[in-house]
């Protein structure tokens, strides 16, 4: 049974939130669409003019844009499978009974990386990965590997961003998958462990089907967050050296904030937004069936 209420009551409850979110979330977006149809550079304001879809055409044929997209996709394609593999291992260990105190402690420490200010994560990388003063290179030295110039070399800087992304988000994946594992009915799991001694079989045929929703959530959210990724590479390398770690959000920030070409940045961000909305729709369709 649902409570019947007057329209005005509903409007009074929802109105303020909807108005506020429209003001900060939708109005700027419309303004961005409008600006994306103009040549608009903050340093050449006199030359502002309507250019139709020129900015979009320029973005879609711009090698720099596609390279940034490619880098973003590469980061995702390397980091996320590693995060899932490590995360699943951690989740399976935490899911097993016993060692309760240790496991609580581990679960608490897993919360730390994903809550850490993303900008600070990038700064930490600067300090820990420095070729000469960095502790990471010192540790590599202990196992006989020569110090690596992580920040200064294009390939290594990219690897460093991947490593750092893995550090920050593996715990998140682990905890999401752990939540997924807890949806497996314990009776089924127990019955299966009596049937077979192989953990692999239990994982493949009993636990995995229950993990599918969590895995899909991880994939969609990691895609969205990789598209958003700005703070960590920005504080770590500023997108450099060259453009080696210029991911899509870092590129847009450079075009808008350091080249002042806001019309172009707007066009780039609208294209990115289109992609994001597809992801969001997918996510919502898969996970919020019950509210329909």
């Amino acid at each position: 049974m649902t409570t019947r209420v007057r329209r005005r009551t509903i409007a009074a409850f929802l109105g303020p939130a909807v108005a506020a979110l429209a003001l900060v979330g939708i109005a700027p977006l419309l303004y961005a669409v409008w600006k994306s149809l103009h040549y608009f550079n903050l340093t050449k304001l006199a030359q502002e003019r309507y250019v139709g879809l020129d900015n979009y055409a320029a973005v879609l044929t711009d090698a720099v844009f596609w390279q940034a997209m490619g880098r973003t996709a590469t980061l995702f394609a390397i980091a996320v499978p590693v995060q899932i593999a490590l995360g699943l291992t951690i989740a399976l260990v935490l899911h097993r009974p016993g060692l309760t105190f240790w496991k609580t402690l581990t679960r608490l420490s897993l919360v730390l990386p994903m809550a850490t200010t993303y900008a600070v994560v990038g700064l930490l990388a600067q300090v820990m990965l420095n070729q000469k003063y960095g502790v990471f290179n010192q540790m590599l030295g202990w196992v006989g590997i020569d110090a690596i110039n992580f920040i200064g070399d294009p390939t290594n800087a990219f690897i460093a961003v991947i490593l750092w992304d893995i550090w920050q988000w593996t715990p998140f994946v682990a905890l999401v998958l752990l939540a997924g594992l807890s949806t497996v009915p314990p009776e089924i799991e127990e019955a299966a462990t009596l049937e077979t001694r192989s953990n692999w079989t239990v994982l493949r045929f009993v636990q995995l089907p229950y993990l599918v929703p969590s895995l899909v959530a991880v994939l969609i959210l990691r895609t969205a967050d990789t598209l958003k990724l700005f703070d960590m590479p920005f504080t770590m390398t500023r997108g450099g050296p060259g453009a080696a770690t210029e991911f899509i959000a870092v590129l847009i920030e450079r075009v808008g904030n350091r080249q002042f070409d806001i019309g172009m940045a707007a066009a780039q961000s609208i294209i990115m937004l289109a992609l994001t909305i597809v992801l969001a729709r997918l996510y919502i369709r898969l996970f919020y069936r019950e509210v329909r």
């Binding site: 900060v24 303004y31 600006k35 420490s109 730390l112 600067q126 806001i262 969001a280 996510y283 996970f287």
Partner: protein, 275 residues
């Protein structure tokens, strides 16, 4: 026969758990210890693990380099946006949980979609608008923009919380002649406090951590602590100790809040798709 095998497994497991903990915690250990080093000690190669700690970096960043005011800005912005999000979000969440109306699912989806939108999409148009309105470099601009992620989080978590409160309470109060608002304010809201608290903590964490809006919209007077930390990297002589002292000051409050809400952080980050 079975017992030794099991014991060996447990030892292996304990080792693995320790490795996982160290993996998560070590960067924080290094951050804090580096913040206690003088520049001379910090620039020793290879890095030293044992040294005489000093609080000089903290003294310097707080009182000489204006990290103190930046932290105050961060607190003002995070607290105000959280307060505003709770104020606007809880009635909306109540309406979503209790009332039936046309377009409800669309509205709900729109709230969730905000989780996916990159701040870089909004930052430049807002930069231009705030310049026109004279809001550039003010707390208000940041407080309002942070609603784009704090409001959805409050609405989502509180809707869930209101749904868990039995409707019979509302119905009984309605029969007594209480207004809808009164029911919300005096009956449901107090019962929903755990959810409100969790959503407030998450809002605070996400606002506190935000960099992009802060970096673009608040270059000077309203500069928040993460944006302040970025400026240290500019220049030739990178002051490691000071950077890490600033980082520690930024990170410690969020980590405390994160541990307090540790059970809900993942729910917040996934907008509840994963319980």
């Amino acid at each position: 026969m079975a017992a030794p095998v099991q014991r060996r497994n447990l030892v292996g497991e304990a080792v693995l758990l320790t490795v996982i903990c160290l993996f998560c915690v070590f960067p924080f250990y290094w951050m804090v210890t580096t913040s206690l080093k003088t520049q001379v000690v910090a620039l020793q190669s290879p890095p030293v693990w044992v040294f005489t700690p000093t609080l000089a970096n903290y003294w310097e960043v707080l009182f000489v380099d204006k990290v103190g005011p930046a932290l105050v800005n961060s607190i003002i912005v995070a607290v105000c946006t959280t307060g505003l999000a709770v104020l606007l979000g809880t009635p909306a969440a109540y309406a979503l949980a209790r009332f039936e109306f046309r377009g409800k699912t669309d509205l709900w989806f729109w709230f969730i979609t905000n989780r996916f939108v990159s701040p870089v999409v909004l930052a430049f148009p807002v930069f231009l608008i705030s310049r026109e309105l004279g809001l550039r470099d003010t707390h208000l601009a940041l407080i309002l923009m942070y609603l784009t992620f704090t409001l959805p989080i409050v609405i989502w978590i509180c809707t869930d919380q209101f749904r868990s409160i039995p409707r019979e309470l509302d119905e009984a109060a309605l029969l007594e002649g209480a207004s809808q608002f009164r029911i919300f304010r005096s009956i449901c809201l107090p019962l929903a406090m755990p959810g409100v608290a969790v959503s407030a903590i998450l809002s605070f964490i996400f606002s506190w951590n935000e960099l992009l809006f802060a970096y673009i919209l608040a270059p000077k007077n309203a500069k928040t602590a993460p944006a302040m930390a970025v400026t240290f990297m500019e220049g030739y002589d990178v002051p490691y100790g000071k950077i890490m002292a600033t980082s520690t000051l930024i990170v410690v409050p969020v980590l405390i809040f994160a541990l307090l809400a540790s059970k809900h952080l993942v729910r917040g980050l996934t907008m509840g798709a994963v319980k």
